[in-house]
Subunit: 205 residues, 4 copies
């Protein structure tokens, strides 16, 4: 059952298109957890109070949107200099997408149970899994298999790899902190995406 | 943690593809708020009456569809002359997409509570936020950072910028009018997309 | 508020990408109406009976899928020879997409009330609206504005236009027939997509 | 009603884009079946127990994700050397996509009733249908109509065809085994995607 040599090559443009599609849908499905409250004969005060009570759901919606958007940007930057994929990269990408498609579930649970340590830990663990799967893909693509089209020097690739591990590290810290205080853990999760934003903007100046 | 110079450039074609994906999904998810009425042993009269009672939901579905479609056209026209993005533009676009993905929620609420001033105001505020985030992105791309590929003269860009502010201004007016009359506010929201359609057609003649 | 001449042109490739996205989502959302029956302590017989009872939903799922797929093919063939759009074509396309995104609702209603004349008529009317909006777009693109890139002779374009009106005509017939018999109307709806399939295959031989 | 010769050709790039869209949505919709448990005043133990009870749903989510991802890779490899489609290939692809869009339903049913022989059989039958529709499309494209752009030798195409039939064969075996033992059938379904992964990686060394 060995495969012949003529297996067609896997171009990254279709991997990127497929990933874009999945990420766009994940980001949009998050809103489905925001359900309009059903009230009998609601006046302005009752409806505004019911919507205000949804605040944890709005917060987890925005957190997950920003989290996934950060990954979309990172995915774009990782794949930009890569032209041809290998089957291994393809499946590392599929594992990463599997982690991303799962995110609406822990997001909804955190919105429903914002004070529950299990919900906060589960959210952090899902984010950790997505971050780790991305770091693994980056390690394979830039250091193990060296798939980049242009020669980016080793030092830069190693720098990017180390930077890529900050995310998983902080999510792990958040999970540990949950034992002490759930609000503190959520604050850590809120700060993590900002760390990814800041250096990118510094580098561009 | 400063970023090296070799950060890959961000091409707008993938930003456009991602935005197209998000907008296409938002526009299609709107229909999920139209739920088939569940009746026991329904005859023609009972079912048609139940569907007729959904009229506010149909109206808010169409309003939001047209609203998002107007933005899709504007997005296409804004990005067409831009080839390379900056991280700032990328994140202004993500904020705009965050506002768009939120729209199914106020749409559903307006469909459920068409007479409730809070629901009408909330709908207007969501539309205002989306309009403002788009205007901000346009200001940055065409006036602040001047990212357009071909040299479109400053006067035209300033004209487009002023025109882009009509939308947010009218949504703000709609929100204020809600205090007086919710039906009048909804009428304003209905008229706004038409204003975007008409001048485009005049300009092409 | 007249628009300057420098308005960027609208290329059809992004219209096609956006339409592909919307159609892909509509076609996939249809499955969300197939809900797994919730039974207490279900054995094989009870579960298989409950699934068998969903037969009208399966049928309306397949009917709508094929209907939308026929339009995807027709859309592809219409836009293939067109390179530049006009604002009018863009908005005729948006109206067509609005009709398509609506389809999951009448599909779900027909699956829920397969014998109800109102549900059957409503389904036919939604299909009629989508067909008519497509025919209108075809008329504008191929006869009114003559946007096709290569010169397809007038006779061929008129032939395609006439063929494009068979669909709306048959859906209208189906709606009228509903007064007599709902099963006959559904049979007509089932046959319509096949008519689009057959001539395409004849023409290719 | 015969069609003129001027029917525009069908390029596979838009078929691929449409298929990518449908597959990306199917893969992402699967998560919608994972619903957050609603508990009154839930503590950590109650919530974690409720989430642990969802294990069969997590398993069927991952199984279906991997199943669809395997098809996405196979679809990419099949279409890569094909430039122009025929109407027959287009509709064989649409039938394949119809089978894929259906998958969230049997996945949800298996997650709800993991021990029920009917649910396990139904899941296997849906997978069998999708596999068979893909094999039929491969047979048509590579052996019947020989649509591949470059000349891949007949032996390789026949080898790929035979390999493509392993999947349907094993799903059929799984369905038969369900009579004896549902857990054994599910184990077979879990192993099938791995068979597709292994040879691809061997072939690339």
């Amino acid at each position: 059952m060995l495969q012949p040599e003529t297996e067609p090559p896997i171009l990254t443009n279709r991997i990127e298109a497929f990933s874009d599609g999945v990420i766009a849908i994940v980001v949009t499905l998050l809103v489905l957890e925001l359900r309009v409250p059903h009230l009998e004969g609601a006046d302005t005060a009752a409806l505004s109070a019911a919507v205000a009570a949804l605040a944890p759901k709005f917060l987890s919606f925005v957190m997950s949107f920003v989290f996934v958007a950060v990954f979309w940007v990172a995915h774009h930057q990782l794949y930009h200099p890569i032209e041809r994929s290998t089957p291994t990269l393809l499946w590392l990408n599929n594992i990463f997408l599997l982690c991303l498609t799962f995110i609406p579930f822990p997001t909804a649970m955190l919105g429903e149970y914002p004070d529950n340590p299990f919900a906060v830990t589960f959210f952090g663990a899902a984010m950790l899994a997505a971050s780790l799967s991305f770091s693994l893909m980056r390690w394979y693509a830039t250091l193990k298999a060296s798939l980049a089209r242009e020669d980016i020097d080793l030092q830069t690739r190693q720098w990017a790899m180390r930077r890529s591990l900050i995310g998983p590290g902080l999510y792990l810290a958040g999970i540990i902190v949950t034992v002490l205080n759930t609000a503190l853990a959520i604050s850590i999760y809120l700060v993590i995406p900002l760390l990814y934003l800041v250096p990118v903007r510094l580098g561009k100046k």
